[in-house]
C-alpha cells in the first residue's frame, strides 16, 4: 500500500524516531570525544572564549579586617564561529508510491550515520592536526586554522599567555625528547612533569594526568603498560607503579588515521579527566537531527533536512598532552 499525503505526519514521526535512535547509538560510540570535549548549546553564531588567569587574592585576613577582592587577570581571547552542515534526505514520490519503506528508512539512517562519523572525526582531527599551526582541510571540506588563543597549535613546546612571560609545553616528553613513542618512561616522565606544572603567576597547580588516549594499534601496548602487575617487558620483578595511577585507557578508533589519509597510529595523548574540558570545547546551535519539510515541491518529493550547526576549538591547553610518537 502506497504512502499517501495523509501519512506524512506518521512517516515523519517514524523517520525521526529511527534517525534519533541511530544518532543515540553513535553518540554512545563517541564516548571518548564526549569525555574530552565540553559540549554545550550556544544560541549565538559566535562564541567568545576568554581565558582568566590567576584568581590571585585569597590571603590571610586578620580579625576585623576587610576581605580582599579577588583579582583575576584577563588572558587571551578567541572567537569561534559556528558553521552549518547538512543534507536533503529525499523521500521521493516513487518511493512513496511503491511503498519502498526500506529504502526510505535506509537513506535516512545512513545520512545520520554519515553526519555522526564526520562529527566524531572532526573532533579527533583537532588532536591529530594539533602539532602544526598550518591550515588543513577538515572532514567537511572546510579549511581550518588550528590555532588557539595564543596563535599556536594545540600541542607546542612554548605556549604563551597574556599576563606574564611564562611558557609551558604540552608536548609529551620522555626526559630527553619531545614526541616520544608510547613507552613507560614517557608516561612516567610526563605524569611527573604535569604534577609540577606552574601557572602564569608561578604557583604550582598540579595537573593529574589520569587518562591515556590511544588509537587501536597502541591498545595492546597501552593495556600492558598500565595494567600489568609487574613492569612489562623487563626481566626484574619490580611492581608496575603505574598500575592504578592512569585510571582511564581510552581507545579512540579514529586516532589511527587522520582525515587527510595520514597514518597517525603512533600518536598518543594524556589528559587530566577533571580538567580537559577546559581545553577542548564544542558549541551547538543545532545538534544533529532530521527536520521535516515545511513545503512539498512540485515533483511531490518530501525533502527532509538533516542539519547540524556547531563550532569547535581549544582554549588554555595544559590539561591535554600529546605526542606524535616519532622519537
Amino acid at each position: 500500500m502506497s504512502v499517501r499525503s495523509t501519512d506524512f505526519a506518521a512517516l515523519t514521526d517514524d523517520l525521526q524516531s529511527i534517525v534519533n535512535e541511530v544518532r543515540d547509538l553513535k553518540i554512545a560510540d563517541m564516548a571518548t570525544a564526549s569525555s574530552l570535549f565540553d559540549i554545550q548549546d550556544e544560541v549565538r553564531k559566535t562564541h567568545d572564549e576568554v581565558i582568566l588567569h590567576g584568581l590571585s587574592g585569597v590571603e590571610y585576613v586578620p580579625e576585623g579586617s576587610d576581605f580582599p577582592r579577588l583579582n583575576t587577570e584577563q588572558g587571551d581571547t578567541i572567537t569561534w564561529t559556528q558553521s552549518q552542515y547538512g543534507a536533503i534526505v529525499p523521500v521521493t514520490y516513487l518511493m512513496r508510491k511503491w511503498d519502498l519503506y526500506n529504502q526510505i528508512s535506509d537513506i535516512a539512517t545512513s545520512s545520520m550515520d554519515d553526519a555522526m562519523d564526520k562529527l566524531d572525526q572532526s573532533f579527533a582531527d583537532m588532536l591529530l592536526f594539533g602539532f602544526s599551526a598550518s591550515a588543513y582541510t577538515d572532514v567537511w571540506g572546510l579549511s581550518v586554522t588550528p590555532t588557539g588563543p595564543d596563535a599556536l597549535s594545540l600541542f607546542t613546546a612554548s605556549h604563551t599567555n597574556d599576563t606574564t612571560s611564562a611558557t609551558f609545553s604540552n608536548l609529551i616528553n620522555d626526559g630527553t625528547n619531545n614526541n616520544p613513542a608510547l613507552t613507560r618512561a614517557a608516561i612516567v616522565n610526563e605524569r611527573a612533569r604535569a604534577l609540577k606544572y606552574t601557572d602564569p603567576q608561578g604557583l604550582t597547580r598540579p595537573i593529574k594526568l589520569d587518562s591515556l588516549i590511544v588509537g587501536p594499534d597502541n591498545e595492546d601496548l597501552a593495556e600492558r603498560l598500565l595494567f600489568s602487575t609487574q613492569i612489562p617487558g623487563e626481566a626484574n620483578n619490580d611492581v608496575n607503579a603505574l598500575k592504578g595511577k592512569i585510571k582511564n585507557l581510552k581507545v579512540w578508533e579514529r586516532l589511527d588515521l587522520r582525515s587527510d589519509g595520514t597514518d597517525t597510529s603512533a600518536y598518543w595523548f594524556m589528559a587530566d579527566s577533571s580538567k580537559v574540558k577546559k581545553t577542548l570545547k564544542a558549541y551547538f546551535t543545532d545538534r544533529p537531527s532530521l527536520q521535516a519539510p515545511e513545503l512539498v515541491p512540485e515533483n511531490g518529493d518530501w525533502e527532509y533536512i538533516l542539519r547540524l550547526v556547531y563550532s569547535r576549538g581549544f582554549s588554555w591547553a595544559p590539561y591535554l598532552r600529546g605526542a606524535t610518537g616519532v622519537n
Binding site: 572567537t79 569561534w80 564561529t81 599551526a133 612554548s158 576549538g313
Partner: protein, 121 residues
C-alpha cells in the same frame, strides 16, 4: 573551527611572527627560550650566534652611514614620522604597516639618526 584570534594584540606582544602567521617551533624557541628580540627572529635569526652577528652588523652599519633603517624604529617614532609625511594613523596600525605607508609616501628606507623623532614606546 574558523577562529578569531586577536592577532594584532599577539603581534604587539611579540607572540606571533605576523598577523595571521604564528611562530613555528624553532622561532618560538628563539623568542621564548633564547630570549632573542622578536624583530630579529622575524628577520631569520634563530640562534644566539645569528642574533649577535645581525646586531653587530646593524650597529656597524649605523655607525658607518649615520643612518637607521625604518624597520628598526620604535612604533611611536614611526607614528611621528607618519605625521611628518601627512599620513593619518590609528592605534590599530602595526609597525610593518607604518613602514609600508612611509615607503609608499616616498620616505627613504633609512633615515639619518639625528632625524629620528624623539618618541618612546
Amino acid at each position: 573551527m574558523n577562529s578569531g584570534v586577536n592577532w594584532s594584540r599577539l603581534y604587539t606582544q611579540d607572540r606571533c611572527k605576523s598577523i595571521g602567521i604564528p611562530w613555528n617551533e624553532e622561532e618560538a624557541r628563539a623568542v621564548f627560550a633564547l630570549k632573542i628580540p622578536a624583530d630579529y627572529v622575524r628577520q631569520g635569526c634563530l640562534t644566539l650566534e645569528a642574533y649577535e652577528a645581525a646586531r653587530g652588523k646593524r650597529e656597524d652599519s649605523e655607525k658607518k652611514t649615520g643612518k637607521i633603517a625604518l624597520v628598526h624604529l620604535k612604533r611611536n617614532q614611526l607614528v611621528a614620522l607618519c605625521d611628518k609625511y601627512g599620513i593619518r594613523t590609528t592605534d590599530d596600525a602595526l609597525k610593518p604597516i607604518l613602514v609600508e605607508a612611509l615607503l609608499q609616501a616616498g620616505a627613504p628606507k633609512s633615515i639619518a639618526i639625528e632625524d629620528v623623532p624623539k618618541a618612546e614606546d
